[in-house]
Amino acid sequence: MGRAGADRRAPVGTVSRVMDADFFRRWMELAAAAVEREADRLTELDSAIGDADHGSNLQRGFAALVAALDKEETATPGAVLVLAGRQLISTVGGASGPLYGTLMRRAGKTLGDAAEVTPAQLAEALRAGVTAVAGLGGAKAGDKTMLDALEPAVDALGESFAAAAQAAERGALATVPMRARKGRASYLGERSVGHQDPGATSSALLIAALAEAEAAR
């Protein structure tokens, strides 16, 4: 169904254009740049309901990821995401490291070794990634985690990357009134209400970077 939506827009937009490894590398670079730019804000959010490290965790991880992409050969979109996932797992730590790492790795593995992938294939791969994240962390929508940004984003991906970015951003904002049920924000109980989830916020950055990569072609 996401596919149908994408196909419908194809004649006027660029959404249905296939994406190669270059595109995925650019996505990762734009994501790294966004994390770098927003690191202090992410840490600030994590300071309110967590342990004040989300920004520096992702900064370290995405810097390592970009460096690895510079050094290692990645011929396919899948290879880019698998390498990205491995790097995040090996350098981020914390809760977000294994979760984001798993997101990327599973998405990459789902893409297989195709040299080019369609938006629909990407949407499917990311959905598999998000499912893996839910499986690993045991969270579901409304628990005030990254899933609250990722799930709506994946749902909107078929429409357009820009729509996905908007959905992710809305999802992140929607975590503000939620009471956390997973991760360390859950320790706060009622006191977690009124703060935006740092992981949902960084997820929105990640999807925004995808829309940026798309817009820049």
Partner: protein
């Protein structure tokens, strides 16, 4: 802060540990601290780790009678799987490895990934989760109770069992037993400043305190006007006892969060003993000090472990680490 730059805090500390402790092997690049004599033939190895900022936990507890290796992550950030995989490979004598994991989502996930990878490499791995903090409800609505002070009890007692040559299942079972019989409650008198953030993680005016805090600078469950040492002891000990209901003598850890002077901590110890006395709970052993800390946070925690003969014998067994040492 007494640092160079936030980015090198952990590596700098590891270089310092290497400089001060020739009895340890410190792999600064890969962030693993090992007993120099590891692997120890025929003995189960204990690997723990977690975010830095809780020193002497865990690297200060590496040595005969306690941990075989520690994997320090970034400040307040769980280590990555690569560290534990490397540690497990380095310490496994063939008798297997016990991972001691504090119950935080990040620690759980990273240790889980590491266990899978280590097992792929042929290491037999068992895991014990430490979750002693009664300030967090152990329910569907939380990530479960946090691992705090009881980690020291688990590491010391399981370490003694391993040193005795007990097999992996036994060491694991003892570790689980210690955790099951331990509960903690912590209080913050000031917030914590991490190197990366450079300012306090929350605002806590001098005349107030946070009840039910963890060891990561997160706010607690409740803020109150400042209480006396005696009132805090009443609150903390009762919170622990309500959950633990010990039927016999306890091990007590009166733990400083980092910036509370030892003078105050000993005064608090007197109050903890008073409350336990009033509640009719005999105290078998008391350990006082800054052991499971939260950087420069002022405050304290109380951990009680319902002892039995075996646990007491293993607690009293010799230990020779940077931060905990007794027996011959």
């Amino acid at each position: 802060m007494l640092i160079n730059v936030p980015e090198t805090v952990v590596a700098d500390a590891l270089r310092g540990i290497a400089a001060a402790h020739p009895e340890l092997t410190v792999d600064v690049e890969n962030r693993v601290v090992l007993r120099r004599d590891a692997p120890v033939a025929g003995k189960v190895a204990l690997v723990s780790g977690g975010g830095s900022g809780h020193e002497p936990l865990h690297a200060g507890f590496v040595g005969p009678g306690m941990l075989t290796a520690a994997c320090p992550g970034e400040v307040f950030t769980s280590p990555v799987p690569d560290q534990m995989v490397r540690a497990a490979a380095a310490v496994d004598s063939g008798a297997g490895v016990l991972f001691i994991v504090k119950n935080y989502t990040g620690d759980v996930l990273n240790f889980e990934m590491a266990a899978e990878l280590a097992e792929d490499e042929g290491v037999q791995v068992a895991k014990v989760l430490v979750d002693d903090d009664v300030a967090v409800a152990d329910s569907l609505y939380t990530a479960g109770r946090r691992g705090t002070g009881a980690t020291l009890f688990v590491e010391k007692i399981a370490g003694a069992a391993a040193e005795e040559g007990q097999p992996l299942e036994r060491v694991e079972a003892i570790a689980r037993r210690v955790n099951a019989r331990s509960r903690s409650f912590g209080v913050a008198l000031s917030a914590v400043t991490t190197p990366a953030k450079g300012s306090p993680t929350f605002d806590l005016p001098p005349g107030e305190l946070e009840l039910g805090i963890g060891i990561h600078g997160e706010p607690g469950r409740e803020r109150r006007p400042m209480m006396t040492s005696g009132e805090i002891a009443d609150f903390a000990v009762n919170a622990v006892l309500e959950d633990l209901k010990p039927g016999g003598p306890v091990l007590a850890l009166v733990n400083g969060m980092g910036a509370t002077p030892l003078l105050e901590l000993y005064g608090f110890t007197a109050e903890v003993h008073r409350v336990l006395g009033e509640r009719g709970v005999p105290v078998a052993r008391t350990l006082v000090g800054n052991y499971v800390t939260s950087l420069d946070m002022a405050g304290c925690s109380v951990t009680l472990c319902e002892a039995d003969e075996e646990l007491l014998r293993l607690w009293d067994a010799p230990v020779r680490t940077a931060a905990l040492r007794w027996g011959r």
